[in-house]
């Protein structure tokens, strides 16, 4: 039984109901329409007296294929493909102060709260026997994820409120990355006390396409032939339509060569 569960049991046994680690998430569902810029997400909750909170936003394990370059004499060429799986598709970490000030290294690793811990779950295909090459590929993978905004360990964005008997309320406001594709994600809260994780809570936050984008994505999957013919016809008509419009706009200005 984990330490967090033991703490929970002792609290309940004593008739004390702990405050909600995650009290509210706004919006509950992120709707993706035609014009989508990401979303402003607000998470509110209460950290029990004497504790702090770390929040993470994670996507489920992804599998991505990459070309891997290697040096052959003076030139760099694609040496083959690498399939990287097991790492979360999205990982954002937030806290009121640096995570290393709150948790021990073992505890950070045990709760998958830093790059090194996440990389322990990563599988490379084909498997890399050379540890240095494996570490280099993992580091490059994280660099790619950071560059597109789907991994962020920057963290100190949780605002702690005035403490009360119940605990210390906190608020996190962040911009949902627009490059995170539609899927169900988890907002996870860690209650941190004395350098250990005392309790955890999580809430699902789905990102769901709506309206025209949803209809189009469904059509591309379920009626592929109709979608393909429509794509060709619409594109061709758009091209001829623009030509028709410009011809009429520039009528009388033709110059022969």
């Amino acid at each position: 039984m984990s330490v967090a569960s033991l703490v929970m049991l002792s609290l309940y046994a004593g008739g004390v109901v702990p405050p909600s680690l995650i009290r509210s998430v706004t919006p509950r569902v992120i709707e993706v329409g035609v014009f989508y810029e990401g979303a402003n997400v607000r998470v509110e909750g209460v950290a029990p007296p004497g504790s702090k909170v770390i929040l993470t936003v994670t996507g489920s394990a992804s599998a991505e294929a990459f070309n891997r370059k290697a040096r052959y004499g003076p030139i760099w060429l694609t040496a083959g493909k690498v399939r990287i799986s097991g790492a979360p598709s999205l990982f954002l970490r937030f806290s009121a102060e640096p995570v290393r000030n709150l948790l021990s290294d073992d505890c950070i690793a045990g709760n998958d709260l830093d790059e090194a811990a996440l990389m322990n779950h990563v599988h490379l295909e084909p498997a890399q026997k050379d540890p240095a090459l494996r570490a280099a590929l993992q580091a490059d993978y994280v660099a790619l994820k950071k560059s597109d905004g789907t991994y962020d360990f920057a963290g100190s964005r949780i605002v702690m409120g005035q403490p009360s008997n119940e605990g210390t309320p906190y608020t996190l406001e962040f911009r949902w990355p627009k490059k995170a594709p539609p899927a169900e994600y988890q907002i996870h809260a860690f209650e941190v006390r004395d350098g250990q994780v005392a309790r955890e809570a999580s809430v699902a936050i789905p990102v769901v396409p709506t309206g025209f984008p949803a209809w189009l994505a469904i059509l591309s999957e379920s009626r592929a032939s109709l979608y393909g013919i429509s794509a060709v016809l619409i594109s061709a008509l758009a091209g001829f339509g623009i030509d028709f419009l410009t011809t009429h706009l520039f009528r009388g200005k033709r110059v022969s060569h």
Binding site: K178, L216, S220, S235
Partner: protein, 326 residues
């Protein structure tokens, strides 16, 4: 303002799509190139999965090339008879090239072979075109004349199926443009490009077609090739993003009109030298790309787009069930 791309599964700024589309459309209308060599890397740089970028690029080329073909048709620059012959040869070559790639992939050297083929072919075509155009431009008044067919070797003139290509003002056996296009198709397929870079110089220097007609006719065959690719990508890989294609097309169709109209103010040699410079720039870029140490040894690979969108099938099925009921 960003727009959500339903198949790519990400959101992207509209101005990036309009700008990239406009630039590529302009080059397409001006030079008869599809522009895939330029647009697909731009889209990948913007975070769009490679397979979606390549497939949607084909779809937008349908829009851009139809716009440019219509403009070139009115200017009398499209040789339909030649275009259909080239199309048949190009498709045959592309099919053979796909088989060649399969063999190379099985041998394990495909990507290196493609990179080196790209540099050698593009460099050779661009370099020779640049030198020839420069010579003609220095020729002064002579340069204003369109290229005419070189004296055809006697054996080629005796081949069967001799046909007059009136619009191009040349007479060839159907076998000549067909087999030349088979070779271009094989190379284009191996290099993963549309092939206009090679097609236009081939039409001008080997078939003796006027540059403007070569550009218009190249666009004609590009239109049909890309229409076929779009349909096949839609049904096989589900990687055509219509929103992405139309956003690009909004820029490229207008750019293609501007480019096609610009051809009236440029001589054939001037058009060819621009095409040559473009080919050489891409060659230099490719060469630097394989010599310079990359910042990251990983780059997104082709493959099914759903690799980038792990939950799409589940929610698609659920949404489809709801939609079908409603």
């Amino acid at each position: 303002m960003s727009i959500f791309l339903p198949v790519a599964g990400i959101s992207i700024r509209v101005w990036i799509l309009l700008g990239a589309g406009g630039l590529v459309g302009f080059l397409s209308g001006l030079l008869g190139v599809g522009g895939g060599f330029l647009l697909t890397p731009i889209l990948m740089l913007a975070g769009i999965p490679p397979t979606v970028a390549a497939a949607s690029d084909s779809c937008q080329i349908v829009a851009a090339s139809s716009s440019a073909v219509a403009a070139h048709f009115r200017l009398g620059n499209v040789d339909f008879k030649m275009g259909i012959t080239l199309l048949a040869g190009g498709l045959t070559g592309a099919a053979l090239g796909v088989q060649a790639i399969k063999i190379l992939r099985a041998l394990g050297n495909a990507d290196s072979f493609i990179a080196i083929t790209y540099i050698v072919v593009l460099g050779a075509v661009g370099g020779s075109m640049f030198v020839a155009s420069l010579k003609n431009l220095r020729g002064g008044a002579m340069a204003s004349k369109v290229h005419r067919a070189p004296a055809r070797p006697g054996r080629l003139a005796r081949l069967p199926l001799q046909v007059d290509f009136e619009r191009s003002g040349v007479r060839h056996s159907l076998l000549v443009p067909f087999f030349l296009c088979v070779i271009v198709g094989i190379l284009a397929s191996i290099m993963g490009v549309g092939g206009a870079f090679m097609m236009v110089p081939m039409m001008v220097y080997l078939l003796g077609m006027p540059v403007h007609v070569a550009v218009g006719t190249s666009l004609f065959q590009t239109l049909f090739t890309c229409a076929g690719v779009t349909y096949m990508q839609s049904t096989t890989n589900h990687t055509v993003d219509l929103v992405l294609a139309l956003a690009l097309a909004a820029g490229s169709t207008i750019g293609a009109q501007v480019g096609a109209r610009m051809t009236r103010f440029l001589r054939g040699d001037q058009l060819l030298i621009i095409l040559a410079i473009l080919a050489l720039l891409v060659t230099v870029k490719m060469t630097v790309g394989i010599i310079a140490t990359p910042a990251n040894v990983l780059s997104p690979s082709g493959g099914h787009a759903m690799l980038y969108w792990p939950h799409a099938p589940e929610w698609c099925r659920a949404a489809w069930a709801v939609w079908a009921k409603g």
